[in-house]
């Protein structure tokens, strides 16, 4: 985060965007989209998180290294989630394959 300072106008713009997105996520939650509920909710939350990270946390103006660290944290979280869920989601399939009930 070099001495580059972000002007308050951008901060307020981001603030408004975040409030709008919060409203949007509540509104979409009121309607049932079946299997798409979670993906929609998570993508809105991801967008809000990206706004906070890039502007509020100055990652947009930071060194490549800081950006890499920011990305690495979420990437390892993804590793944890994907490989753990991969076990739970395929258990029934495997059980059926081996031991027809």
């Amino acid at each position: 985060m070099s001495e580059h300072s972000v002007s308050p106008k951008i901060y307020f713009a981001i603030f408004i965007a975040l409030c709008v997105l919060t409203g949007l996520t509540v509104w979409t939650a009121k309607h049932d989209y079946g299997a798409f509920n979670t993906p929609i909710a998570l993508s809105i939350a991801g967008l809000k998180a990206a706004l906070v990270i890039l502007w509020f946390m100055h990652v947009k103006y930071s060194s490549k290294l800081t950006q890499l660290f920011a990305f690495a944290g979420f990437f390892w979280l993804a590793i944890l989630l994907v490989f753990t869920l991969q076990d739970f989601e395929t258990r029934d399939m495997m059980n059926y394959y081996f031991f027809k009930p």
Partner: protein, 561 residues
């Protein structure tokens, strides 16, 4: 207050001739305050050395008691409860308080700033905080051990640990939770230091491979330890407030605990072995007086092990009820993570080719490491193969495998590293002949102890058994005999190390004629700011430039200096 830490005897000032009038980091200040409130990374390394060796001896004592119990098939030396507490404390103390911190906190703390040519780590106060957290966690664990112990195994598998064990699991969970942060802070310090504080000219590919290994280890410490912290915290919550997160009665899944636990604990075994590999690269290059073979390949394989290490934890759970599909994926990725380790071993051997090999103690440990780590690594492949793991999981085959990698690999590298840099840390040489003898005793005692366990494992003797069947008795007696030799070897080396503090031969700046800033630029023992005052460190040479002159000489018509 700090029951485990004793202030080291400040060595009397008859140091190396030129060191007499020069103040070193040891003689810069006296009194316990100068030690317990120091921010000098070298002093913190010495503090860590003392606390780590204390825990190594405690863990080793537990191990010898266990081996004594297993001398006879019937459980006649200890109650089953006591034996279970012994193997649990042996696991917890050895892993969290010796294997994970030892090389990074002792050799890493001492050498990382010197090797990159800077005065100290990025965050000196956080470095001291890391040691205090380690000591608080250690004191808490010893308190738990004394006031009743814990008998869940170092893996704390739910639901036994969360509901059915009636020993002090919550206390151990909190102690491990605290100690995790010591590891995180050390890792954080190293990553930032290596990124931001390298001396001018010290590019990434001019850095010694020890630093690459420390950097890769720190990545794992940063990315893995927090998940252990949260897992152990959830376990503590479940025990203290009965909020069943892993409780099968509520629909919770004990296998989820295993997923979260092994997400840290498998990369943790790479935290333990990678620094050892870093030390071996340094020792092999120095004692073969030859450039390391395949520098870039060794450096990148350290990173590859660190990153791939996070994708393989499921091979601990092939028969635990994990879906076979997930098992297949984890088995495949475990095969991939084995390749970088193999590449490293082959590169070390290629370094010996056409070198000028001298077999002092550090080199004996390094060559021992290469042999034993190969056996350890290859038996890991046995366990990564699903068809075979169904037979050998949770047997002594697994115990033999990880002891070959941890004791045959990590501890041999730690001993090699201590012998290699001992003169730089304390200005004294250890007794060479005794060093070589102890190395051979440890090598023999180690193989005597753990090779029979491979056979026991395939014969089907399960782990963590207080008593076993008659047919396993011969191999167990062999193993116990080996354990006493191994224990003797370690005690011997600790004795002559302490002896050398006062009566060891004063060491010159570069006793091994090694390359690297810590040998060529930093005096023995280094002053508080590592390099003689006012000396701007600018790095020009490549790492391990042992044959630079010879290369130039060929160019300059072969005149040898």
């Amino acid at each position: 207050m700090k029951s485990t830490v004793l202030t080291p005897p400040a060595p009397t000032p008859h140091l190396a001739p030129e060191a007499k009038e020069r103040t070193t980091y040891l003689t810069a200040d006296y009194g316990w305050k100068s030690w317990l409130f120091t921010v000098d990374h070298k002093r913190i390394a010495v503090l860590y050395l003392i606390s780590i060796m204390t825990f190594f001896l405690i863990g080793g004592a537990f191990a010898l008691l266990m081996r004594a119990e297993l001398l006879t098939p019937k459980g006649d030396l200890f109650e089953a409860e006591t034996y279970n507490k012994l193997f649990t404390m042996h696991g917890v103390v050895m892993i969290f308080f010796f294997l994970v911190p030892s090389i990074p906190a002792v050799l890493g703390n001492f050498l990382v700033p010197i090797m990159i040519g800077t005065k100290d780590l990025a965050f000196p106060k956080i470095n001291l905080l890391s040691w205090y957290i380690y000591v608080v966690g250690g004191a808490a664990t010893l308190f738990v051990a004394i006031t009743g112990g814990v008998d869940t195994g170092w893996t704390f598998y739910a639901p036994y640990s969360s509901t059915y064990a009636n020993t002090n699991v919550a206390g151990t969970a909190i102690a491990v939770f605290i100690t995790g942060f010591s590891s995180i802070l050390t890792g954080l310090n190293f990553i930032v230091t290596i990124h931001k504080m390298r001396a001018p000219g010290m590019t990434w590919f001019k850095m010694p491979l020890f630093l690459w290994a420390q950097y890769a280890t720190s990545l794992i410490m940063i990315l893995g330890t927090p998940v252990l912290a949260i897992t152990v915290l959830l376990l503590g919550l479940e025990r203290l407030f009965h909020i069943g997160v892993f409780d099968p009665a509520l629909g919770g899944d004990p296998v989820l605990f295993q997923h979260l636990f092994w997400f840290y604990s498998h990369p943790a075994v790479y935290i333990m072995i990678l620094p050892g590999m870093g030390v071996i690269s340094e020792i092999v290059a120095c004692f073969a007086k030859k450039r390391i073979f395949g520098y870039h390949f060794i450096a990148f394989s350290s990173l590859a092990i660190a990153i791939f290490g996070f994708l393989v934890w499921g091979h601990h759970m092939f028969v635990s009820g994990q879906s076979a599909y997930a098992g297949m994926v984890f088995s495949f990725l475990t095969m991939l993570v084995a390749i970088p380790s193999a590449v490293k071993v082959f590169n070390w051997i290629a370094t010996l080719y056409k070198g000028q090999v001298s077999l002092e103690t550090p080199m004996l440990y390094a060559l021992g490491f290469i042999g034993l780590f190969t056996i350890g690594g290859v038996t890991g492949l046995f366990l990564a193969v699903m068809g075979l793991d169904r037979h050998v999981h949770d047997t002594y085959f697994v115990v033999a495998h990880f002891h070959y990698v941890m004791v045959g690999g990590m501890v041999m590298a730690f001993m090699g590293g201590m012998h290699f840099w001992w003169s730089k840390m304390f200005g004294r040489m250890y007794p060479e002949a005794m060093g070589q003898f102890a190395a051979v005793v440890i090598f023999v005692g180690f193989n005597f102890t753990f090779f029979p366990q491979f056979l026991l494992g395939y014969m089907g003797m399960p782990r963590r058994y207080h008593q076993y069947n008659e047919e396993f008795v011969i191999l167990n007696v062999l193993s116990t005999a080996g354990a006493t030799i191994l224990g003797g070897g370690f005690l011997m080396s600790i004795c002559y190390f302490i002896w050398s503090l006062k009566w060891g031969k004063p060491a010159t700046q570069n006793p091994w004629e090694a390359k690297g800033l810590e040998w060529e630029k930093a005096p023995t023992p280094p002053p508080t700011f590592n390099f003689p005052d006012g000396e701007r460190i600018v790095v020009t040479e490549d790492a391990y430039a042992y044959t630079e002159e010879e290369a130039h000489d060929h160019v300059a018509a072969g005149v040898k200096k």
